[in-house]
């Protein structure tokens, strides 16, 4: 009787595990097909189209004057907006994670606000402020200053759109680390800056780097907000994504995808570094859980 029972159980287990295996294979296949269709194929297409007419056409598309000025403007925008948001992210997460005060979660919601605003609206608000019909428009015109349809507007819109990135990466990790190490530093008479530099910063360096990378990828790739404030002046106020749009609409597909491939490469490098940083982060944390040897 007992033997019979165990055979039945064995059979059942076999059926279940066979069913599990087919289920497992089917689910993996569905997931891979979905990601292949929506992520891998578009990415692959960018590079294949970019090199459709060979290496020379690719290089030519990247070295013609309008492309060079678009690349320069994109770099300038990132060089201004990324450090600004990095400093803000560090300052904001210090205030939010090292102190207790009322309205903290409301403040975090406000910092996250640019994430939930349509890129087009992010551009629109600056047109309403600084455009000719805007609040400050007449004053700017009288003083011969131009923000909208010029580089300052592009930088402003980019800073707005990338505003939360660094703070968002830092806040959870600084929250987790608490204030004990900083308090210890202060009882040992360290100054505020010394504590920040020697205690806080080493603890959050990977999260900070990751936030900066994401911020940079978005700053260089932002399209909607920048498109609204740029005015599309070729060779003057076109960033790389806007240059791609113009080339594409002129049916100059090889050149459009050539410039696009640079931005796609940036995205891939950003994510590769992210994967590397996550691996480092998990390795850095591992010794904490192990018993302290020395």
């Amino acid at each position: 009787m007992n033997a019979l029972f165990s055979i039945a159980a064995d059979q059942r287990r076999e059926i279940v595990s066979a069913r599990r295996k087919t289920g497992r294979a089917a689910l993996i296949a569905i997931a891979l097909a979905f990601l292949g269709l929506f992520v891998v194929l578009p990415l692959l297409l960018v590079f294949l189209q970019a090199f459709a007419h060979g290496w020379e056409a690719y290089v030519e598309a990247l070295t013609e004057p309008d492309a060079v000025s678009a690349i320069q403007l994109t770099l300038i925008t990132a060089v201004i907006s990324v450090p600004l948001n990095m400093v803000f992210g560090l300052v904001a997460s210090w205030a939010i994670t090292k102190f207790e005060f009322r309205g903290k979660s409301f403040l975090i919601t406000l910092i996250d606000l640019p994430f939930s605003v349509s890129p087009v609206i992010s551009g629109l608000v600056f047109v309403l402020m600084f455009g000719l019909q805007g609040w400050l428009g007449p004053w700017l015109r009288d003083n011969d200053l131009q923000i909208i349809f010029a580089v300052p507007g592009i930088v402003l819109a980019t800073v707005f759109v990338t505003f939360p990135f660094v703070a968002r990466e830092l806040i959870p990790i600084m929250q987790e680390q608490g204030t004990l190490e900083e308090e210890a530093a202060f009882t040992l008479n360290a100054s505020g800056l010394q504590t920040f530099w020697y205690v806080t910063l080493p603890n959050v360096k990977w999260a900070l780097l990751y936030g900066v990378l994401l911020c940079n990828a978005r700053a260089m790739g932002e399209f909607g907000a920048v498109s609204v404030v740029s005015g599309h002046v070729r060779g003057l106020t076109n960033t790389m994504p806007l240059h791609v749009e113009i080339l594409y609409n002129e049916y100059n597909f090889v050149a459009a995808f050539a410039v696009a491939s640079l931005l796609a490469m940036l995205a891939i490098i950003t994510l590769a570094l992210k994967t590397l940083l996550e691996w480092k982060l998990s390795r850095d944390r591992a010794p904490d859980s192990a018993p302290a040897g020395d």
């Binding site: 890129p119 399209f223 459009a256």
Partner: protein, 284 residues
């Protein structure tokens, strides 16, 4: 005691760490300068319109249709992303297979790839002479330059949200509960609906709401593939841009405020969902 605190907002608890006033002051100042003042200019502008002009601006057939296209395509894309996002999250958490790490990294591509690049790539793929469009053309199915194309772009844009919200919850899920249900004779479907789904539902809904909110405001990837025919495949953010180019600032503002209010309501729902999930987590 609580009353005295509530009368003094923004008061720090005593701490040996310096810099509270400085860092909070800088944070609030910079936040106001870059985000709050510009955003309030939008509401100020719409306030100068008056209710009648505001209503007239958003009730024209073209605007109503654009809003309908935006909301419906965003909803369909969020729904599709929820189903496939759950499957992808499940596969990444539960199964070990070669290349899993790369697949995991690929999920973030829509966050990192500029939207305009996604737009031209998807359009080229799904156009009638594209790799995928050519497969569908013999059956008379057109994707690019129709509302279906908009859905394709929005699926791409919203793809990571459900995966990334469900993944951590699934990782923390205790498998003993599943084993117990199974040993009591539950079939896999019952195990999923009765045991797993209740604990991942809040995260799934949050991911869906995030994907929907993102899709609602999306511009860059959609305008290439949509075809942008008024009353057919025109989305609300594009209409804002068109109104701006016509210098119809009042109308652009009215549409923008309508969409902004919609996303604030969504943000509120997401917050409530997350609180609910946290409370459930604590009760367990």
């Amino acid at each position: 005691m609580t009353q005295t605190i509530s009368r003094i907002p923004f008061r720090a608890q005593p701490s040996v760490i310096p810099g509270f006033g400085l860092t909070l002051g800088l944070t609030v100042f910079w936040l106001s300068l870059i985000v709050l003042v510009p955003l309030s200019s939008l509401f100020l502008k719409s306030a100068t319109l008056g209710w009648d002009a505001f209503w007239a601006a958003i009730s024209t057939p073209r605007v109503v249709h654009a809003l309908r296209v935006s909301f419906s395509t965003a909803a369909i894309a969020a729904g599709i992303n929820t189903v496939f996002g759950l499957i992808v999250a499940w596969v990444l958490v539960r199964y070990r297979f070669p290349g899993r790490r790369i697949v995991d990294a690929l999920v973030d591509i829509p966050f990192a790839l500029p939207t305009a690049i996604a737009g031209i790539a998807l359009t080229t793929l799904w156009a009638e002479n594209g790799w995928l469009g050519a497969l569908l053309a013999p059956f008379g199915i057109k994707v690019a330059f129709t509302p279906a194309g908009i859905v394709i772009a929005l699926i791409f844009i919203g793809l990571p949200f459900v995966v990334r919200t469900v993944q951590p919850v699934l990782e923390d899920f205790e498998r003993e509960a599943e084993d117990a249900a199974e040993s009591l004779g539950a079939n896999p479907w019952q195990v999923f609906t009765k045991v797993i789904w209740p604990s991942i539902m809040p995260a799934t809904l949050t991911g869906m709401a995030l994907a929907f909110a993102r899709a609602l405001g999306e511009y860059g990837s959609v305008i290439f593939i949509a075809g942008n025919l008024p009353m057919k495949s025109e989305i609300a953010p594009l209409l804002i841009v068109i109104k701006l180019e016509e210098f119809a600032y009042a109308e652009a503002t009215a549409i923008a405020v309508t969409m902004l209010i919609a996303s604030f309501i969504l943000l509120l729902c997401i917050n409530i969902l997350q609180r609910w999930a946290e409370r459930r987590e604590r009760r367990r």
